[in-house]
Subunit: 322 residues, 2 copies
């Protein structure tokens, strides 16, 4: 089942979000508008705005405010993509040249900053202070994670706890912000807000682990980049940790990462070895554990089409092939 079918209960809301998103990046300075439009129009799954919308559905919520929230959440996501691509020196995103491949590093970061400020501006239109505070705190968590990553480089021995902390700040924090702010906006009682925040956090963790697995297992053409790109860049993800811990070829990873040329046959062999190893299965189990924790977290909510969509979304993120 794809996301379109899962998200059919909020299809109209998502269409409104799409329109508002395009409007939101029409800014005065043409080069900025250009890069924002490219980024927004090249798509993406819109999982984060969908989560924000779903989380508003338990109680009657002004649909315009819900859509505004979803737009602000997606703009924060778009801003972090701009920064991530710069940090990772990625040339292409969703088939289009990245901002960093066209602009200076400084201009690229400022473009991301501008989008964050725009997100804050839009979020302030919701007129809910608790929502604003969650936005600000989430930004701090994301920046903190990015700085630690920039400082860290490749650690050895690889630290699994650091990996979990990093994906929490990089991905799960914004998933959590989406569901938590959605619940706050709907006027949900605290127990439901907590449940939806926990759902978002665990879903985000599952989503990122699945993403990191797909970097090894997905079809190269669908990925749009070489299989094992993270490892080639020196980024150690969960499958690599399991591989190092379980496979006799584990020590080769360290030797290879120390070399300046990481793109030879040896790396190719290693990526294939990880791809076909039980490390992938162990990582998938971990992702499923988080997805199940997400589903369990919302067990206290009434069983309706929105809770079912959230449950299906949690199942989907760990079963998708891209």
């Amino acid at each position: 089942m794809g996301t379109n079918s899962i998200l059919s209960p909020i299809q109209n809301d998502l269409q409104q979000v799409e329109t508002l998103l395009r409007e939101s990046v029409q800014v005065d300075f043409a080069p900025l508008s250009g890069v924002f439009e490219t980024l927004i129009e090249s798509g993406g799954k819109r999982i984060r705005p969908a989560l924000a919308l779903l989380a508003t559905k338990l109680h009657p919520t002004d649909p315009d405010q819900a859509a505004t929230l979803a737009v602000a959440i997606e703009l924060v996501h778009a801003a972090t993509l701009i920064h991530d691509d710069l940090i990772d020196k990625s040339p292409v995103r969703r088939g289009s040249p990245t901002v960093n491949s066209r602009w200076s590093g400084t201009a690229t970061v400022l473009a991301g900053d501008y989008l964050l400020a725009r997100a804050a501006d839009i979020a302030s239109g919701i007129e809910n202070l608790r929502v604003m505070r969650i936005f600000a705190r989430t930004l701090m968590i994301i920046c903190d994670g990015e700085i630690r990553q920039d400082f860290g480089g490749v650690h050895w021995p690889p630290n699994r706890e650091e990996y979990f902390r990093h994906i929490q700040s990089k991905t799960a924090s914004l998933f959590k912000a989406a569901t938590e702010t959605g619940a706050v906006l709907s006027g949900a009682p605290e127990a439901e807000i907590d449940a939806l925040a926990a759902f978002g956090h665990n879903l985000g963790m599952a989503f990122q682990i699945a993403d990191d697995i797909l970097d090894f297992t997905a079809d190269e053409q669908a990925l749009g980049k070489p299989v094992g790109s993270d490892l080639r860049q020196g980024t150690l993800t969960l499958p690599v940790f399991y591989f190092i811990a379980q496979d006799p070829r584990g020590p080769r990873v360290e030797a290879l990462l120390e070399r300046s040329d990481r793109d030879g046959d040896e790396m190719e062999d290693l990526v294939q070895a990880i791809r076909n190893s039980p490390a992938v299965v162990a990582s998938e189990q971990e992702a499923r554990r988080f997805a199940q924790a997400a589903i369990d977290a919302i067990a206290i909510l009434p069983d309706n089409i929105y809770r079912r969509a959230m449950t299906e979304l949690a199942q989907y993120v760990v079963e998708r092939t891209l």
Copy 2:
């Protein structure tokens, strides 16, 4: 008269702000705390927090909220200093090594971002949505200006309108945000909010023009950098525009800026020529015009120690020697 004497009516408030500022940058990640502490403890005039505090004084305002606002304003300023030093490649700020001289470009921008998020977090504690919105919009204006500067480089012929737009976004926007949010927080009527916003804007314009003049006229030891640093870096400021328009040696500026080596005897001569030219006097008149506009803007406010302090501040920023 120095700022200490001018700001004596809010001396206690400023002391509370100083304490809160130091607390506000105690963050979990030690390297971040370190650079923030260096930046905050190395001082600065605290004119922006002073403006925010003064603007709250016309109506009874919770002193803790006023101090919180002043802290958030100064943190935004500190964040923009981090970004500015990176853009200008400045090695030293207030006698201490800049963040960009110690960290990668990416980490430096993220450190600035983190501080902006922290400012938003602190500002959200004020629980005033209009204040939050002014913060978000001001950030957009500042980012927009920084990106345009990064895109622009040296324009020729120099464009005086662009200079005014640039210092408006770079400096005057935050001065305006300080006085406007202060007035909003105090519950001032709209006419007073407008007056204080106009005061902040015009004061900021005067302040930045005076700063740009001092780059030519101040004592080199007090400046802590060579006289004419802006011009040596290719940044054209108001005295340069007047010099080009009025002095027979004007065309030399363009010739010199086109050369990769801008630090020879010719540049030295040119900086001295500008320093001693009527272009400085014309620029000072422009700064005084903005200072007077600031003073005129608050003529509608009751005449008390706070309005007098603001008036004196406007006189001070154009008369200071550093």
